[in-house]
Amino acid sequence: MGKWTRRAFITTGVLAGGVLAIGVAIRPGNRSSKVAGLVAGENESLINIWLKLGPDNTVTAIIPHAEMGQGVHTTLAMMLADELDADWSLVKMLEAPAHPEYANYALARGYTLGDKQFPSWLLPTVDGFFLQATKMMSLQITGGSTSTRTTGQSAMRIAGAAAKAVLLQAAAESWGVPVSELQAKGSHILHDSSGRRAPYAEFATQASQLKAPVMPRLKNPDEFTIMGTDVPKFDIPAKVDGSAVFGIDATVPGMKYATVRAAPVFGTRVETVDSESIQAMPGIRKVVNLGDAVAVIADSYWQASQALNQLPVQFTQSADESRDQADIYKQFANDLDAATATGKEQTDFRSGDTKAALANANRTVLAEYRVPYLAHATMEPMNCTAWVHDGLCELWLGTQNPLGFAAEVAKAIDFDIQKVLVHNQYLGGGFGRRAFSDYAIQAARIALESPYPVKLIWSREEDMRHDHYRQASISRFKAALDADGKPTAWENQFTEKHDPVEAPYIPYGIDNQYIHFTESKTHVPWGFWRSVDHSLHAFFTESFIDELAVAAGKDPYRYRHDLLAQATRFRDVLDLAATKSDWDRQLPDNWGRGIAIHKSFGSIVAQVVEVEVVEGKVQARRVVCAVDAGFAIHPDGMKAQMESGIAYGLTAALYGDISIRRGAVAQSNFHDYQMLRMNEAPAIETYIINSGESLGGAGEPGTPSIAPALANAIFDATGHRIRELPIKLHDLRKSNLEAKDVA
């Protein structure tokens, strides 16, 4: 991918070589007026900094989002290029620098327009923008599956369309013909009656003097020529020959290497460290006590890690050291019991009268589920190269939030934010982890004490034990069924609510619903994990609806279908998955099938899993996935994201288990935090519905449905209901299940 040089960074708008940045000339000079304009609903500022047109007629889309495999660099460029009617072969991309000019204005705009699909976890940050414009300057987040539906829709498409409009107008003036007689096509302006044809570049300078339309006309889907096609992704060639530069690959002349060990029990600190004892080891430069962690700097990573392993460190004591995972679950259960007993439940959603419906039920069904903590385990462990020099702190790393990191690092080392320069690289996986700046702050603090640049690399063990974890949780359900087995009441109580707010909500037509939660905090740090709260609630709600179908003696697919009579968009997705899976087909012995549907980040995803369980070994054989994200800008990319979300969710469902032992994380590496591997990967078929509804995300929505679909399939195959993840905790051998039945 293209990279900004320092020079370009400083001189945005005065680009060398005759390159014109469309809109730079029309950008309001004053940033605060831009902010005011946004709040007032003027979107002039949106069109100004997103594309460059070179004298060779190449178009460069400037993308303010991080590439972590989700294909955003390509997808957003497609949206801009299509509206511009550009020749795709002449389109390039450049990742925007971590600079206030490239903060997520589009996110803010989506918010002002009251986009109901806006992820609630971003609202506090975005809200801060409206209250205090300076805070907004640090918002440059890639997360919440937002890039396409906010930046893409509100910035890229408008920028492309506005640029096309001024180019057409410039051509009309230059040729002395009405603009209505001109056509834009393949990066050229065409005048049919005179046969004239000229490249966009010819009108670039003139166009830059024109005022771009505030509300350019956007194409209808039937006019798309690039959106909806499977163009090759920009980032792939560099990822097959080793030339892609990830954070860990950044090379700064003269740099040394560091690695850290943080206090194992969250919240504890370094008490003593015997730095002298390792000074004689080869290549050792320095030991840095960071307060809650110690770092060793050496001439190579291997030397630093060998020395750190031998470094005697004492950590402070904490009451949390007496806590194991079982104690945490016990705390959750106690807190839920107490909330019920005292009536101090926090209401999440309520409709009708659940109590009355339960009292009048023909039958009630109860169930309790639990899920453990989960680590992100990105393939690239956390790392950051930092260099403090000439009053600057330069950082090379992969981050989902370059500006936010700059702000947080600046605060941590007491620098002006303008003096912290973030050079974002490819991310070797993000999944929410690289939205937390702990590793960048560590690197900056180490660099502050070093006369040379330092590359900080966390060991896999450190990465596993000092993540920001998806919460563990218990969820309890109570439902009333009428004589036909139809649910008339749905009560759900769970621990700890994060985001998005709608994660525990169900699409089913059940009149009486009461969804409530109880906070039950632990010392384990929380973090966004691919699909956030959806990752647990889809497992809870879609397992329980399956239990209701079984209790009602109904087919789990048709039971859901009937309850979605008023939610036709959901029903269509469910039907497509079931039909494509050939739902009624006879399965081989020891196989089972399960279905689940869930909406997240604006996209509805239904999945059918076919599983084989032999001698207790669970093998997902086939996954049929149907998705309605409104419109798939890059259909193959959408499929890739579904495949990826499924593998991520399947890994968690089968194996994912971060457990607390004596206050610390018990797992340390891929041998005890297992990953799905090639021999366990199911065949995946993805079917896309372009419903024309508002655009939904792609990066996360593939994940939530897979755990419940798999658990439901295991029930179908074995008769054993999975109420606790991961599945590896269950002994699914026939001999064991039969013994249980007898008992």
Partner: protein, 166 residues
């Protein structure tokens, strides 16, 4: 000093002989295409070839490779020297997502195809299950290996045809 031939280039390194090859390749030789993933040989991100055989460079001491030939992803092929059929297949099937594990995946796939030119699904499972991909590109890796196997077979056929005709 330890002598290694990396991607055909003979070099000498002044390192602790116990240093894993991975760090010598990345830090001393400056070839960052080979990745650190786990440090205990369970994820495959560090896979390189030692005399044509795939090894986990994160646990192999550099001393064990003294005087021998190492091939990394950079030595396999690039846009200038020409890409290996496996790399071309990876582009054709749009395999990589985050891309971090893919150097290791490609080196493992190349090793598989050089010892077994037409692998079955079970062969692919066996050869590739040591390489973790957190983005779940497994279905595409499988397709990529099949595509590469087909191209390589076609190339072999064409060249043997040439020989027969010649």
């Amino acid at each position: 000093m330890i002598a290694l031939t990396i991607n055909g280039k003979a070099q000498e390194f002044d390192v602790d002989p116990a240093t894993p090859i991975l760090w010598v390749i990345r830090e001393q030789a400056g070839l960052t295409g080979t990745k650190y993933g786990c440090g205990i040989a369970v994820c495959g991100a560090c896979t390189v070839h030692l005399n044509g055989m795939p090894i986990r460079s994160c646990v192999t001491p550099v001393q064990a490779a003294a005087g021998q030939e190492i091939t990394t992803i950079e030595g396999l092929g690039n846009a200038v020297t020409g890409l290996h059929p496996v790399q071309l297949a990876w582009i054709a099937e749009q395999v990589p997502q985050c891309g971090y594990c893919q150097s290791g995946q490609i080196m493992a796939a190349v090793a598989l195809l050089s010892s077994n030119p037409s692998p079955s699904d079970a062969d692919i499972d066996t050869a590739m299950s040591g390489n973790v991909c957190r983005c779940g590109t497994y279905p595409r890796i499988r397709k990529g290996i099949r595509t590469a196997a087909a191209t390589m077979a076609a190339t072999r056929e064409a060249s043997s045809g040439d020989l027969n005709n010649g």
